[in-house]
Structures are given as structure tokens and as C-alpha cells.
Amino acid sequence: MEAGTVSSQRQISVTVNGTTYEREVEARKLLIHFLRDDLDLTGSHIGCDTGNCGACSIIVDGTLVKSCMLLAVQADRTQIETVEGLADGEELSKLQQAFSAHHALQCGYCTPGMLMSATALLRKNPHPSDEEIKKGLQGNICRCTGYWNIFEAVKAAAE
């Protein structure tokens, strides 16, 4: 299908955590559903499905986004990073280790999004101030921890 023509279905090629996938997708499919249902990458969660909670946060071409607010067809020819790509085999990333050490999760539902937001923050700003950490996590809602341990974990990972 040519780029400039209207179609309800499209062939896309997406690289997720280093693996390239070629799939036919419907234009109406949200990126989060493509990741979870088509690629079986269920690490990214659907919380609110209205762009508020941030549980579906992923990194697309280096930019942190909410994957329930993009169409899968828009991810054509992009490099995507999800929570599944953070650990190196069995070895957790420094940030993941800090989440574990600081008890930064209880139910864990928001954790994939929190980790991706914090990863994006620390990449852009390796030594954020307290205020910058809070602002960096503003798009992610947690209903268990009261945020404090998440904040402490990010702070520890930054040091």
C-alpha cells in the first residue's frame, strides 16, 4: 500500500527491544494492543486507556510516549523499547535493582510504565533534582505506594 493513500489496513515493520517484527495491522489498532495482543509482549500494561495513568508508557525512537495514545500504524519503521528490554538476560538494570531494593512496587501494575518513564528521565538527565524526578514521573499513576519509594528508587539509581 502506498504511503499517501487511505487504507484501513497496513503492513508495518517495527523493531521492539532489538527484534524486528513485520505485521499486517488495522489502522484502528492502538499501539498498546499491537504490542500485547499481536507480539505477545504483555509487559506494558493497560491501566486507564485514556492517556492518564501511564502504565502503557514505552520509548519510541528515544521518546517516552503512552502507547494507548498512538496507533500501531504510526509505529511503522520505529525502534521501540518496552519494559521487557530493560534487563540484560537475568541481570536487572540498575534502575530495576533500585526498585527492588527500595520496595518501589506493591501490586506492580504501574511498574512497567514507571520504569520506562524513569529510564527516559535518567537518560536525558542522569542527575535529576528531586523536583525533576517528580516532574519526570508525573505522567504515571500509582495507587499503592504513595510514590515515595518509587521516588527513592529513582533517586538511588541516579546516584
Binding site: 489502522a27 484502528r28 492502538l30 485514556t50 501511564g54 510516549v65 527516559a120 516532574k135 519526570g136
Partner: protein, 268 residues
């Protein structure tokens, strides 16, 4: 959420995007999608086709002219404004863009999408109205320049017609600007907002008190003059679950004074 079936096109140029939009009354431009995708989920709108503007470099970029005029591509994201050294020529732009929603939304959401949505609770319609911005709208027969007064026509309605596209927003030079809002949550949508600009005359624009930003031109930025101008405007704001009409009228006065005060403190 499964959206209604929709067509999708990724044009290679602005001209092609306009052709696609003109070819189908049910086609809509997809900018950052941080409002439109939600609107489609809620079935509040169901376009037949989406014309994806992402990837059109012609619609990107921030240029600072020799006379201090900023030319902002419609597809410039809030994050790009916040991080741009050129945009610092008009500091209020980054100040306000940094208050919109959260990192993820700022990374995707665009200034063109924000004003074309013209949701009264959005930050940028009153800001651009106060700054005296010019909106460049392109259609099949060329482009036209439109002032803020002509651009914002109603709730969710602007001068951008079917088969047309907002391509650029021009902001004149200046530094003495202010913005104040009462929001839902720290950086949420506005319950009432006010933007002020003291470059040349005094221009104040109020958001969320009418279908379009209400522009006031008090004689001075003094609190009394600003209050008098708000009273004279005889606002009849809408009431909703967040605020009564009377409370919005009260906030309009308070926030207009705050925005004007902030602007006068930035007089250079």
C-alpha cells in the same frame, strides 16, 4: 479500546495532506493525537480517515527572525518548545508548554493540535490570543494569515476549514508576558486561565469563560484597571462540575490580575 474502523494515510508533503483532507469531508488531520485518539475512543468523534501529519518536516521547526518574530511549525511539540533555544526569545512559551499535562503528552502533543482543537480548557488558545499570534492556514488555493480573533470561532471550532491545514503560528517579539490558571491537579486542564501581554498595549485573554478566548485591552496593567476591564466584559461563563458560573467569573478577575502582574514584573 477498539476504535471504530478508520482509514489511515501518511502523506509525503503538506500539499498531499491537503489533497487527502479535501477529498473526503470525513477525513481529519492527525497531529499529536493526544486529544483526537481519546475523542475516538469515547466515540465523541469518528473520522472516516486520519491524515497523519507526523513525519512532515515542513510542519516542524522553530525559527527566530531578525525582528524577533518566532515562526513555529504547527507540528512542533510542547517538549520541542520547552527545549528550544530560539523559543526562549519569548519565555512565556516554554513556561506554559512545560505546564501542559505530563512528559509523555508533552513529547507527542503539538501546538497546532492544541489550538485547532480549541478546547476552552486548553492552555494555548488564550496564550496565543494574548500574544497577538498570527495563524497561517493553507488550503488548495494557497495560504492566508488569520489573527487570533478570527481564528478561534467556537468550542472545538476554528477558521481551519475542510480541506485546509494550519501550517504555522507566528508570534511577534516581546518578553513582558504572564500566565495564570486554576487547574484540575497540578498541571491538569484549566478551570479558568488568563494570559497577559504588555508589549505595546495591554492585552489579556481569558480562557474557559466563553466558547473562545475573551480578549480584553485595559488601559493599564494595574490591578484596578484589569479588574474594571473584566467587570466590563460582563462574562457569563459556563457552569460545570468543577466550578459554578459565578466562581468562574470570580476566578477570571483574580487570574487576569495575576497574569498582568506577572507580565509587568517581566518588563525588560
Amino acid at each position: 479500546m477498539l476504535l471504530r474502523e478508520v482509514g489511515y494515510a501518511r502523506p509525503g508533503s503538506v500539499a498531499e495532506a491537503i489533497e487527502l483532507l479535501a477529498a473526503d469531508d470525513g477525513a481529519r488531520a492527525l497531529a499529536g493525537g493526544q486529544t483526537l485518539i481519546n475523542v475516538m475512543k469515547a466515540r465523541a468523534g469518528s473520522p472516516d480517515a486520519l491524515v497523519d501529519l507526523n513525519g512532515l518536516e515542513e510542519l516542524k521547526g522553530i525559527e527566530l527572525g531578525a525582528d524577533g518574530t518566532l515562526e513555529l511549525g504547527a507540528m512542533t511539540t510542547y517538549t520541542e518548545i520547552v527545549e528550544s533555544s530560539e523559543a526562549r526569545a519569548r519565555p512565556i512559551l516554554a513556561d506554559v508548554c512545560a505546564q501542559i499535562a505530563d512528559v509523555q503528552v508533552r513529547n507527542r502533543g503539538t501546538i497546532g493540535g492544541n489550538v485547532c482543537t480549541n478546547d476552552p480548557t486548553n492552555h494555548l488558545p488564550p496564550l496565543f490570543a494574548a500574544l497577538g499570534a498570527t495563524f497561517v492556514i493553507q488550503g488548495g488555493d494557497g495560504s492566508r494569515d488569520v489573527s487570533a480573533e478570527e481564528f478561534f470561532l467556537g468550542v472545538y471550532l476554528t477558521a481551519v476549514g475542510l480541506g485546509e491545514l494550519l501550517t504555522k503560528i507566528r508570534i511577534p517579539a516581546g518578553r513582558s508576558d504572564g500566565f495564570a490558571a486554576v487547574t484540575l491537579g497540578v498541571e491538569g486542564t484549566c478551570i479558568v486561565s488568563a494570559a497577559a501581554s504588555l508589549n505595546g498595549g495591554v492585552r489579556i485573554a481569558l480562557g474557559c469563560v466563553d466558547a473562545v478566548p475573551v480578549v480584553l485591552t485595559p488601559a493599564s496593567a494595574d490591578a484596578d484597571a484589569v479588574r474594571a476591564a473584566v467587570t466590563e466584559a460582563a462574562l457569563e461563563p459556563p457552569a460545570d462540575v468543577h466550578a459554578s458560573s459565578d466562581y468562574r467569573r470570580h476566578l477570571a478577575e483574580v487570574l487576569a490580575v495575576r497574569a498582568a502582574h506577572q507580565a509587568s514584573e517581566r518588563r525588560s
